[in-house]
């Protein structure tokens, strides 16, 4: 087991600067997920940690060693790839024991370790099969088994669930979490799926255009995004974000979305936002769960407003209500009992206790 340190890590491919000054400290036994859209540099970062990609600048430390110039085999890591990367000419047992055989461990030791890990993953009966005889989920388990059996310092996962169907993906997600709880190996996991990131991670690293946007616990990222990108990326349905202006009248602040809709800013946030009073290049953010149907009893800082829903999507436990403000599509999560109908003007409730104000120029959440 080991901590992983990335210091000023950079990767350039000719003209493309894929990873820019990434600094990250991953603690021993921690499960860290790198998440971001395609091309954000998350897989490149992982491959640099694995030693499969040369680094252009910076340092990578695994444990107390700098591994910049070490080949992958000497880094004491194990990696699970998106397409499983099982050796097709070997049986499951041979796949799992490949690394141990290269280390020239005694045969009985290899057999014992493979059997133990196969037991953990429930693949004992598959040990004599070839990869082509396995289903997607079984292959994924074997790929994980092959990583676990070597008892490495760090596990690296490169979008391991992307090739599975939706149901199996949810199941394997739980399996991965269970395995980590059992073996407690430091893990770096790459995905573009923010739900996977939120559910698996001790800490999530959100990347965009080669830069780290924010690092934090899943709930912290969700409730306290640091940037416009994180606010929009984390959460499904995504946070509602629309242009606004901040007005000050007699010492009280008001956020104005347009001529028709405006809300008072909660008093406890007045001091924080006062410096931005009069600024009309701001963005107002509110998650769909904080836009609900009108309720008989409202709390402090909850304000009603009128909308005309364009589309409603009944989900069973809730109904998603879509409407437009300033030409931006917004989404509310309403109680199905409210029976919100498209085209029928209705009253929704905005909970300003959870509002976000974002500086449009810098993209920073204020």
């Amino acid at each position: 087991m080991a901590q992983v340190m990335l210091k000023d890590l950079n990767k350039k491919y000719d003209e493309v600067h894929a990873v820019k000054d990434v600094n990250l400290h991953i603690r021993d036994k921690e499960f860290v997920v790198l998440v971001g859209p395609s091309g954000c540099g998350k897989s490149t970062t992982l491959r640099m940690v694995a030693g499969l990609e040369e680094i252009t600048g910076g340092e990578i430390h695994i444990g107390d060693r700098m591994v910049n110039d070490l080949p992958p085999k000497d880094r004491d890591i194990a990696m699970v790839f998106q397409n499983y990367a099982l050796y097709p000419h070997m049986t499951v047992h041979e796949n799992m024991s490949f690394g141990l055989r290269l280390k020239k461990l005694p045969k009985d030791e290899i057999a014992r370790r493979v059997a133990a890990v196969a037991g953990i993953l429930g693949i004992r009966e598959l040990l004599d099969r070839k990869p082509k005889q396995l289903s997607g989920g079984q292959r994924q388990r074997v790929a994980m088994g092959r990583a676990i059996v070597r008892n490495p310092k760090v596990f690296l996962f490169d979008e391991p669930l992307s090739n599975l169907d939706a149901k199996l993906r949810v199941h394997m997600r739980t399996e991965i979490k269970k395995v980590h709880q059992k073996v407690r190996t430091t893990t770096i996991y790459v995905t573009h799926d923010q739900v996977e990131a939120m559910t698996l991670a001790d800490r999530v690293v959100v990347m965009n255009a080669g830069l780290i946007e924010q690092v934090g616990a899943p709930n912290d990222l969700y409730h306290f995004p640091a940037t416009l990108f994180v606010a929009g990326f984390i959460g499904s349905p995504a946070m509602n974000i629309t242009g606004c202006a901040l007005e000050e009248t007699a010492g009280a602040l008001r956020v104005r979305l347009n001529g028709e809709v405006s809300f008072p800013v909660p008093a406890e946030r007045t001091a924080r936002y006062r410096a931005y009073a009069g600024n009309d290049r701001l963005l107002f953010g509110l998650r769909p769960e904080h836009l609900t149907e009108m309720r008989p009893h409202t709390l402090a800082n909850q304000y009603p407003f009128q909308v005309t829903p364009e589309v409603t999507e009944p989900m069973g436990m809730e109904t998603l209500v879509f409407f437009s403000v300033n030409g931006t599509e917004m989404c509310a999560r309403a109680n199905p009992a409210a029976n919100t109908q498209p085209g029928v003007r209705t009253q929704l409730l905005a909970d300003l206790n959870h509002m976000h104000l974002i500086d449009e120029g810098s993209g920073r959440v204020l």
Binding site: K73, F81, Y87, P88, L102, K103, R150
Partner: protein, 281 residues
């Protein structure tokens, strides 16, 4: 009833459609076999029917070929030269193809193209400068000259064929081996090569055929009966001036095609996969 008959009719049509190709492919062998079994009297009888044996078969041409000529020596030479040249070419071609397909170094793309262009240079142009090289090495009239010169066209061919095949081996599988603790050579030997067996077999088969059938270099670099290969021996020793020993020529051609036919029949599945298929990781 109609349902069960449909596949049969479809299969029958398929086989009927294949018939012209089968006849086209097998006719030369039929003619060779027939000619090699005919008596000289029938062979040179201008009124005889060429496509059947009417005056009884004979093995006299085979006996003469095997015992009155050096055919067995030529065949032995052919086998030795072919196996050695094929072995050398596949090994060198494999290493070169792996490097060109997988490693990143300056000029890798143009080197790959260069190798392909080398393969396109005809042997009828290369044999002149190569003759000087062979003479300079003191290998004139030696079958070792052929072992040395055949790889000049076999290595580019094997490399070119294997580059394409190695590119179909998923990179992640090899990377996984590297992460699992393998060196690059171990990853090549234990992971990539076992996955590339159809490609290797295909390259070896082509190299075997090209070398077995090679004529120009063998004719130029060897001349004595103890050193020549079967392709040269049959045509130089059994055609004397304007006299063609048709029976022995055809017997020699038929026996000469046996090793190639055997090799292909054993490895036909690998050969087809190597040409058409790719590796699934």
């Amino acid at each position: 009833m109609t349902v069960s008959r449909r596949p049969f009719v479809k299969r029958l049509m398929l086989h009927v459609a294949l018939l012209p190709f089968l006849i086209f492919a097998l006719f030369p062998f039929y003619h060779m076999t027939l000619t090699s079994l005919k008596r000289d009297r029938e062979l040179y009888d201008r009124y005889a029917v060429p496509l059947v044996i009417t005056q009884g078969p004979t093995l006299e041409h085979y006996a003469k070929l095997l015992w009155d000529t050096e055919f067995l020596t030529w065949t032995k030479n052919s086998l030795m030269v072919t196996f050695l040249a094929t072995g050398i070419s596949v090994v060198v071609g494999t290493i070169a193809a792996y490097a060109l397909a997988r490693l990143k170094f300056f000029g890798v793309a143009s080197l790959g193209t260069g190798i392909f262009v080398t393969y396109l240079v005809p042997t009828s142009l290369l044999f002149l400068p190569l003759a000087q090289v062979v003479q300079w090495l003191g290998l004139s009239d030696s079958k070792w000259a052929l072992v040395l010169t055949y790889p000049t066209f076999l290595v580019p061919f094997c490399t070119w064929l294997l580059i394409g095949y190695f590119r179909t081996v998923p990179k992640e599988v090899e990377e996984c081996a590297l992460v699992d603790g393998a060196t690059r050579i171990q990853a090549l030997w234990r992971i990539v090569l076992p996955m590339a067996v159809p490609g290797l077999v295909c390259a070896a088969l082509f190299a075997f055929t090209l070398s077995w059938n090679e004529f120009i270099y063998a004719l130029t670099f060897t001349s004595s009966s103890e050193q020549i290969t079967a392709s040269v021996g049959v045509t130089t020793e059994l055609i004397r001036g304007d006299i063609y020993f048709w029976g022995q020529l055809m017997a020699g051609a038929l026996l000469g095609s046996v090793p190639v036919a055997l090799v292909y029949s054993f490895f036909v599945e690998y050969y087809v996969t190597g040409l058409t298929g790719s590796v699934k990781g």
